[in-house]
Amino acid sequence: MVNDLAERARTLRKHVVHLAADSPGAHVGGSMSVVEILTTLYFDGVLRVDPADPARPGRDRLIFSKGHSSAAYYAALAEAGFFPVSELDTYKKTGSRLAGHPHTGVPGVELATGSLGHGLPVGVGLAMAAQAQGLPSRVFVIVGDGECQEGSVWEAAMAAAHYQLDNLVVIVDRNGIQEDGPTEEIMALEPFADKWRAFGWATVEVDGHDVGELSNVLHEVPLTWSRPTAIIAKTVKGKGLSFSENTNAWHYGHLSADLKQQALQELGGAS
C-alpha cells in the first residue's frame, strides 16, 4: 500500500512537471511539497468523497487553502477521477476551467482559493454546520506555512478550539520557505507547533513526505476528543527535483524543455 502511494506521488509530481512546462508557469515549489499530503488524503481512503457525485451531502470537505499550488491539486483531483486526466493539458490555457488558482467551476473544488488565509475560517463554518446537522462529514484544510502569517488563520484557530470542532483538521505544509525567502527570515513562525497547541489544537508533527506516517495520523483523527487537529507536515519546498528543492527560486516558474526533460528523468523516466 505504501508503495502504491509512493507511486501515486511520483505520478502527481510528473503531472506538476508537465503543467509547469506546458503552460505559462506554475507554483512548482509549493506543489511539489504538498504532493504526499494530497496523495494520502485522496488515495489512501482518508477522504470520504465521491468523484462521481462531488456534491454528495455529508461528504468530507477538503479545502485547498494554498490555492497557488493548483498544479498538484488538479493532478490529484484528476487522478482521483473528478475530471479526465487529459484535461490537465488545458492548465492555464484559454477557455480552460483550470485557472492558476482553483475555483468551484472545477469538480471537486470546494472553495475558490488563491488569496491566502481564507481556507481555515471557511473550514470552521463548514465544520460547525456539519456538527449542527449531525452530519458525519469532516473538514480538512491544507494551508501553507507562510500563509499562517495571516491573522485570519489564528482568528479561525481560536474559533475552532472555542467551538470544540473535532471534525476539523488543518494540515500545514511546513516547507519553511515562502515567496520572498525562508519563513524564519521573512516573518518568523517558530515555535510553530507550540502556537497551535497554545490555541487549543491537538497538534502533531510528521514527516510530510512519508506517506506511512501521514496515513497513520490521518486515519486517526480526531487525535483528541472535542479538539481540532493540527498536523504540521515537515516538507521540502520543491521536493523531488534537484534544482527546485529548498529554494524560493522555484516558488513560481516555467520549466524549459530541457528542465522538463531533466525533471522527468529525475522522477524516474518520461511518462
Binding site: 484559454t94 485557472a99 488558482h101 475555483h103 488569496s115 495571516e150 515562502q178 515567496e179 520572498d180 516573518m187
Partner: protein, 320 residues
C-alpha cells in the same frame, strides 16, 4: 520618444518594456536615496520587482510576511511616526483584504502612505478570479482622503509615484501587471487632479485611464475619426473642469476602463456629468461579474471588448 533613462541620473529603464509597477519601484528607490524617511513596506511580494530595493536598502525594506492587515496598519503607524512608507502588494490584497486598515488607519488619519497596487485589472489573466482587481477603484474612490491614480504607462507611473510622494497624504496607485505601449514622453506626463487631452475631436469625448487601455483607446479613436480622447489618470479627485468643458463641446461621452462599470472611472464621470453637464454617456468596462475565464492579457481584452477593435465596435454600436 525620450527614454526615461535620459530623465534622471540613476534611472535606467526602457519605457516600452517596463511595467508601471517596475517604474514605480524605481521611483521609490530614487526617492529613498533622496529622503532617508522613505521605507518600503512589503507583504511577501518583494520578489515582484522589489529585490533591488531590498539589496540596496535592506534596513528600509520592511517585510511583514503574508499579513496584509498587519502591513497596512504598520505602514500607517510608520507614517504617523515620521516615516514615509510605500506599501507594495497586489491591489486586491491591499484594498480589499485590508480595506478597513486602509480606511481607518491610513485614510482617517491622513497618514502619508502611498499604496502601490500591482496586479490590478484582469491582466493576471491565468491566475483566476481571486487575483483580479476589478473593484479596487470603486473601493478606493469611496474612501475619504484617498487620492486614486491609474497611470497610463511606465513614464507616467514613475512621475505619478513622485507626485504621490510629494502629495504627502494617502494615495492609491493602480499599476496593472504587464508593460504597455508608451504614451508619454518624460517630464510632461503628470499632475495630480489634471486630465490630459491626448487627441482633439468634436463629435464625442472618450475618457479613459490605465496601462494598455489608453493606447488601445487612442488606436480606436484613430479609426473612429473626429473624437476627443482624454487621459484621466487621477480618478479622484477627478478633473471636473476639463470633463465639463469637453462634454459640453462634443455633447456625448464614452468612458473606457479595465474595471467593473460599477464605481470606477465611468461612475466618477457619470457623477460629474449628471450634475454639471448632462449629456448622453456610455460606460465601457468589465461586467458586474467575476472573471472566471482565463487567457493571456490580449485575449482577455478581446473577450471583454477592451482592445481597440472592441472599443471601436462598442462606440459605433452606441452612436448609430
Amino acid at each position: 520618444m525620450t527614454a526615461l533613462a535620459d530623465l534622471r541620473e540613476g534611472v535606467r529603464f526602457d519605457p516600452a518594456t517596463t511595467t508601471a509597477f517596475e517604474a514605480c519601484r524605481l521611483a521609490q528607490l530614487d526617492l529613498a536615496r533622496e529622503d532617508p524617511r522613505v521605507v518600503s513596506v512589503e507583504a511577501d511580494l518583494g520578489d515582484c520587482w522589489g529585490l533591488e530595493f531590498r539589496e540596496r536598502m535592506p534596513d528600509r525594506f520592511l517585510d511583514f510576511g503574508i499579513a496584509e492587515a498587519s502591513a497596512v496598519g504598520a505602514a500607517a503607524g510608520l507614517a504617523m511616526g515620521g516615516k514615509r512608507p510605500f506599501l507594495n502588494t497586489f491591489g486586491t490584497f491591499a484594498l480589499m483584504r485590508a480595506a478597513e486598515q486602509v480606511r481607518l488607519d491610513i485614510c482617517y488619519h491622513r497618514a502619508p502612505v502611498v499604496i502601490a497596487g500591482m496586479f490590478t485589472g484582469i491582466a493576471a489573466g491565468f491566475s483566476g478570479p481571486t487575483h483580479h482587481a476589478i473593484e479596487d477603484v470603486s473601493v478606493a474612490r469611496a474612501l475619504p482622503n484617498l487620492t486614486v491614480i491609474a497611470p497610463a504607462d511606465a513614464v507616467q507611473a514613475y512621475d505619478a509615484t513622485r507626485a504621490a510622494f510629494a502629495h504627502n497624504a494617502p494615495v492609491y496607485l493602480r499599476l496593472g501587471v504587464e508593460p504597455g505601449p508608451q504614451v508619454y514622453d518624460a517630464h510632461e506626463s503628470f499632475e495630480i487632479g489634471r486630465g490630459r487631452v491626448l487627441r482633439e475631436g468634436s463629435r464625442l469625448t472618450i475618457v479613459t485611464c490605465g496601462v494598455t487601455i489608453v493606447p488601445e483607446v487612442l488606436k480606436a479613436a484613430e479609426r473612429l475619426g473626429d473624437v476627443e480622447v482624454i487621459d484621466m489618470p487621477t480618478i479622484k479627485p477627478i478633473d471636473r473642469e476639463l470633463l465639463v468643458r469637453s462634454a459640453s463641446r462634443t455633447g456625448r461621452v464614452v468612458t473606457v476602463e479595465e474595471h467593473s462599470t460599477i464605481g470606477g472611472l465611468g461612475s466618477a464621470v457619470a457623477e460629474v456629468l449628471a450634475e454639471h453637464a448632462p449629456v448622453p454617456l456610455r460606460r465601457i468596462g468589465l461586467p458586474d461579474a467575476f472573471v472566471k475565464e482565463i487567457g493571456d492579457y490580449a485575449e482577455q481584452l478581446r473577450r471583454f471588448e477592451l482592445d481597440a477593435e472592441g472599443v471601436e465596435r462598442q462606440v459605433r454600436a452606441w452612436v448609430s
